[in-house]
């Protein structure tokens, strides 16, 4: 029985989907009138459209859905950087190297970043300015980044301007001040950005990503400096050891400009002194080790016993420590105890 039901359901379904829709039954006007007069019409109350009020006849009012353009516009509005910050971002060349008017970075981390960027600027002939935005934020369309860079960074020390999106390093953008745009090839710029993004991707925390990104970028800027000076090759995949060793944490402290100002003779002298001290320490350790392992043996001679003693008759000194008035120097000449004054 159940199978039969299923088969019938299947047949109806197929007929409903796959076949041509059969014509709907229609009332014959006379017959319908007759039925109404007789007093009953099956489903009449439901299908009696004519008796329905005017407003109901018109059907439910249709609410127009927003268009895709309108939706996109709304979304854009939410993510676009608020107008109140635009002036702080783009009005003039920033005083600090970190531009974060929205306060996306905590004050403590900001301090670290500031000191790192300040160190970089002191160390490098190319400054680094970082504009920090939220992960999904957009720069308003009326702000043209190239124009901003040209307007703010044409004068002064050459700079690399970075637009960094917290938590989304892959969205970062890099611009060079016009002075060095020609000197540094577009390929090198792209490589610098890519390697910085890769380095940032190694870290899972947003601030850690930013740190890693900036450290790598600082290294790449070194190559840009050389390229700008014309001393570097076009492709530079290797990084000098000194730069590789430079870490963010280190740079926030005093790694020092002072260290670079140490003259070479002082470095050589220091190295020599360190080597000599190391050598002496090594020799001393070796000496102590050998001394600890040394064994001393006396030759054994035949000694005739004295005073009838079978093992020993070696009479050594006796020293008195009863009084400070009798120092050892006064006791050098040994005398029998009965001759010594108390």
């Amino acid at each position: 029985m159940r199978c039969l039901t299923l088969i019938l359901t299947g047949i109806f379904s197929l007929s409903a989907f796959g076949f041509i829709e059969p014509p709907m039954p229609a009332w014959d006007a006379e017959k319908r009138q007759q039925m109404i007069e007789e007093g009953w019409l099956a489903g009449g109350s439901l299908l009696d459209f004519e008796s329905a009020p005017e407003d109901e006849k018109e059907g439910p009012s249709v609410i127009l859905k927003p268009t895709a353009e309108e939706l996109a516009l709304e979304e854009e509005d939410e993510n676009v950087v608020s107008e109140e910050y635009l002036a702080d971002y783009f009005a003039e060349r920033p005083a600090g190297h970190l531009v974060d008017p929205q306060g996306l970075i905590s004050s403590r981390n900001r301090k670290d970043l500031d000191s790192f960027l300040a160190y970089h600027s002191g160390d490098s002939s190319i400054e680094m300015f970082v504009y920090v935005f939220g992960k999904d934020q957009e720069i308003p369309g009326d702000v043209r980044e190239e124009e901003v860079v040209e307007r703010l960074y044409s004068a002064g020390k050459p700079a690399v301007i970075l637009y960094y999106y917290m938590g989304a390093p892959q969205r970062s953008a890099m611009y060079l001040s016009p002075i060095i745009t020609d000197a540094v090839s577009a390929a090198e710029q792209r490589r610098a950005l890519q390697s910085s993004v890769y380095r940032a991707a190694d870290n899972s925390k947003p601030f850690g990503q930013l740190e890693a990104f900036l450290v790598q970028m600082s290294i790449r800027i070194y190559w840009m400096e050389r390229m700008a000076e014309g001393t570097a090759e076009e492709t530079m995949e290797t990084v000098p050891e000194g730069r590789q060793a430079r870490s963010f944490a280190k740079n926030t402290k005093e790694e020092p400009v002072a260290a670079q100002s140490v003259p070479s003779w002082a470095k050589i002298t220091g190295s020599v002194v360190a080597a000599v001290v190391g050598l002496l320490l090594f020799l001393w350790s070796a000496f102590m080790w050998l001394r600890a392992r040394a064994r001393f043996k006396f030759p054994e001679f035949e000694v005739e016993p004295r005073l009838g003693a079978s093992h020993a008759a070696g009479i050594g000194a006796v020293i008195s420590f009863s009084s400070t008035a009798i120092p050892p120097a006064k006791q050098r000449d040994q005398v029998p105890d009965y001759m010594r004054r108390a």
Partner: protein, 221 residues
Amino acid sequence: MKCPRCVQRIHRAAVACPHCGFSMEDADRMFGDSEVKLRSLTDAAGIFRRSERDSIEDLIESIGIAFPQIFVAVYTGSLGETGNLRQFGFWLLNRGVFEDVPVEKPNEAGILIVIDPDSKSAGMSFGYLLDPFFDERDTFDCLSRAHSYWLQGRYADGTLRCLRQLAKLLRKRCRVVRRDPEKYERKVSTPVEVEDLVKKIRGGNRDVGSEAARAEEEVNR
């Protein structure tokens, strides 16, 4: 070589002191003729704390390792009226059986430091093995290093200082002896008989027992 009682020089192989007649028998009469069991550090006077005893024992052990033939012992005790420190040290090194000293190190190879906190004096005695290499001045040098500590009642510090100086001196002496062992052997070898000496002089200071001397003697006859 001196007598423990009168501190006068005695010749090697003297059976008794030619000056006062002292011998081992006198010491036995004074302190007893039976063997005394003791350890290399015997604090009969109770002047060392436990930690101090440990550090002294460590140093004694390290000296024993550095000098495989020799052992060092420290005895502290009140001698009272029984006699002086030299005689007691002399007697104890002959009658003492040091339980923690290996059997291959007999008392001949011993150095004994005796400290008497009551009479406030300390002495050092040594066995026949060290006779050629060690003398009274050396022992005085070691003991005087401890004097200032012992004066303040810092017995352990003084003893450690004394032992370190002893080890230093032994090391130094050992190196010197290796360079010229004959010099030290002569100090303890059997004295040349008078007859041999006369023969040597008559023979023009040639070796008495040599082949040439014998041949010359034959010719003279």
